[in-house]
């Protein structure tokens, strides 16, 4: 007993404490991730959506919205796109692209653009949702929406959506660029497919329907509204809140990260133990 008490030394307790702390931390993280998945409302982000149609396209706006949009557009967008959104040498014509296109680019922060020479990046949006809708309303008021573009801003109701159908459609249509975990990846010549982990349900539906940038366009002939809602449910569900039942998710980029962990923590850590256990000379 005497010797046992004497040996309770911080030198030996510290590593043990670190190990326990790491473990408890990892446990709490995974538990809280699980809890947040469970607590998510099944209806997605948009409470205003009607229960029946999976996607409601809102394309009619009040004159007040259009007016607010005009003020914002002239102050922030017209220097490149022109006051009538007719385009210029610097920026494309926006007339006829419809409110969903405009709303996607503005609400994800890609517009206004910081540097016109590279692919627009998602950044903190300059305008809130109401302002983005107003700008979309103003642009939509300038010309009728061209065929092939959604007539309004899509609001998705995923109550009746199927996650497993969403999974199948996502793997077939989206994973080739955005990766199976939605992490995004580089495309040819400096372009890239962005991460899906922060997109809202409306933004996902807008991207699917309008095909921003290099992304293909998936019109109603390719994906029905219900199918788009399935994809939205899958993206806002398992993609954004993956079931990382196995522990720390390692960024969802697969074997590269896993290999580094195996070699650095696995082999490297065990080598440190060997270094302690053996002689050094």
């Amino acid at each position: 007993m005497r010797t046992v008490r004497k040996t309770l030394h911080i030198r030996y307790l510290l590593p043990a404490a670190v190990v326990v702390a790491v473990g408890v931390g990892g446990l709490l993280t995974s538990l809280s991730a699980g809890a947040s998945t469970r607590s998510r409302t099944p209806s997605g982000a948009n409470a205003i959506a009607a229960p029946t149609p999976p996607i409601r396209y809102v394309g009619t706006f009040t004159p007040a919205q259009v007016h607010e949009g005009q003020v914002l557009f002239e102050a922030n967008c017209s220097s490149c796109h022109g006051t009538q959104a007719e385009g210029s040498a610097l920026a494309p014509d926006l007339q006829g692209l419809g409110p969903a296109t405009v709303d996607f680019w503005v609400s994800t922060g890609r517009m206004p653009l910081a540097d016109a020479s590279v692919q627009a990046t998602r950044k903190p949006a300059r305008f809130d949702n109401q302002q983005a809708t107003a700008i979309s309303a103003y642009v939509a008021s300038l010309a009728p929406t061209a065929p092939g573009f959604p007539s309004g801003i899509p609001y998705v109701d995923t109550k009746a959506s199927s996650l497993s159908m969403g999974n199948r459609l996502f793997v077939l249509n989206c994973a080739a660029c955005h990766t199976i975990t939605g992490a995004g990846d580089a495309l040819a010549d400096g372009a890239y497919a962005p991460s899906l982990h922060v997109a809202t349900s409306t933004q996902v539906a807008e991207a699917v329907r309008t095909g921003p940038g290099n992304m293909p366009v998936f019109g109603p002939g390719t994906l029905s509204n219900a199918q788009v809602a399935d994809i939205v449910a899958y993206v806002t569900g398992p993609i954004q809140h993956p079931n990382d039942r196995g522990g720390i998710g390692l960024g969802g980029i697969g074997p590269v990260a896993e290999g580094f962990v195996a070699l650095l923590i696995g082999v490297g850590g065990i080598m440190l133990i060997a270094f302690w256990l053996g002689e050094r000379a």
């Binding site: 790491v22 999974n167 994973a175 199976i180 975990t181 497919a193 899958y234 398992p238 195996a262």
Partner: protein
Amino acid sequence: MSTTVPTTTGSPSRRRSTPVDSGLGWLDDRLGVAKGGRIFMDKIFPDHWSFLLGEIALYSFVVLLATGVFLTLYFVPSAAQTVYHGVYKPLDGVKMSEAYASSVNISFAVRSGLVIRQMHHWAADVFIGSIAVHMCRIFFTGAFRKPRELNWIVGVSLLFLAIVNGFLGYSLPDDLISGTGIRIAYSILLSIPLVGSYLATLVFGGVFPGNGSIIPRFFILHVLILPAIIAGLIGAHLFMLVRQKHTQFPGHGRTEDNVVGSPMFPTFMAKTTGFLFMVTGVLWALGGLAQINPIWQFGPYVPYKISYAVQPDWYMGWLDGAMRIMPSWEFAGFGHTIPFMIFLPGVLFPGLTSILFIFWPFIEQKLTGDRAEHHLLDRPRDRPRRTAVGAAFLAFYFMLFCASSTDVLANFFQVSLNVVLWTFRFIVFIVPIIVGLFTYRICLDMTGASHVGKRKRAVLIVRSATGAYTTVDTEARPGDGHHELEPMLVPGFIEGLDGDGAEGGEPGVRRVVRRP
């Protein structure tokens, strides 16, 4: 048989007879194990930490076998289609192979199943990683020299078999990512001139994906045939090690004619068993805390579906990297096609690599003309050429490994994919040359310096009243002393341990003896 081993004064007759004596006597009457057994217990294991690297591989293999047996109890090696209705809701109602469904079930429905599945995967990654590290130690210290060329060959074979078996195991869950890997393997088989199409259809039981025969075939290879060969070769590896005895670093009391270290029993036994537990503990903790290959997030393999950012496990990365940076060369003419862009990196390159590795001891003998027996190891700095070549090779394969993640790197550093690929096409060759030359230079410099690699004794830096600094040698640290003792043969008998009543425990444990 006729010779009896004479004992010195501490004869067995002085010991009290214990149950061990009678039990051993019974066994010895029948199998004659006492003499050889005792000699085996005296077997000396060098204490240097780098001699434990191979043990990491051995114990990872033990973990692989144990966890693998568990997994076979729940894994269904069948490509037959089923509809999933399990715990993981996002896949509910999805059509998939029984292999994939059972892998998802192991992850969600079998208690501790996910930890053991992940532990199996981590153990495979660590197994091959520790083989590579172990092999580096053998290479850079020249432990492969005569008389150990055969054991080097066995070791290299183990490395490549482990890589193949790792790939087979990675393929079994039949998820989207692993299925893509099988598709590429099929194309590699197909690319072999003359026999490629026959090999592909024979191995896959038809045109890809092969009417469901590939999962059962990979399964039996993965769980029976290759593990049996690997286990047999590990047996041969260890047998040769015991037969030839360990190498050792040069040092006090160490010669070409002895081995200095700890005896098998009890010192090494306690250390290495503890090491087995620690390796298992690290792998188990990884299995529970760090997610690997979350197949439920990938969905089942469907031949026309694909995910971006697909890479093989790290030990296949050098091959994938070679495939990516290979220029698009294909020979077509005389009614035939040779797809060099895949045959070269997929077949010829790994083939040449394995041949080069296997024959390295003989190549080096040819180059240096050194055909003598060696039991004392080289310090890497003393063999600057070999060390430089080895470092260059490591750099080469590491660069290829990095090239297998061109897309991830391009995305991470936000540069063009094309730029990254072209960069790799050059630096894969440039970096190894630089690394080799640099290593050579460092080795030469270290050879010239004195005291390099010697065990350093701590010094005390003292500041005098006038502000001058002087260094004072400190007392030897614990453990320093025994390095200066002359090594002794493992004692057959310990006098004073038994019979005089006062002690009776293990030697030296309870009695504190201050070192001089």
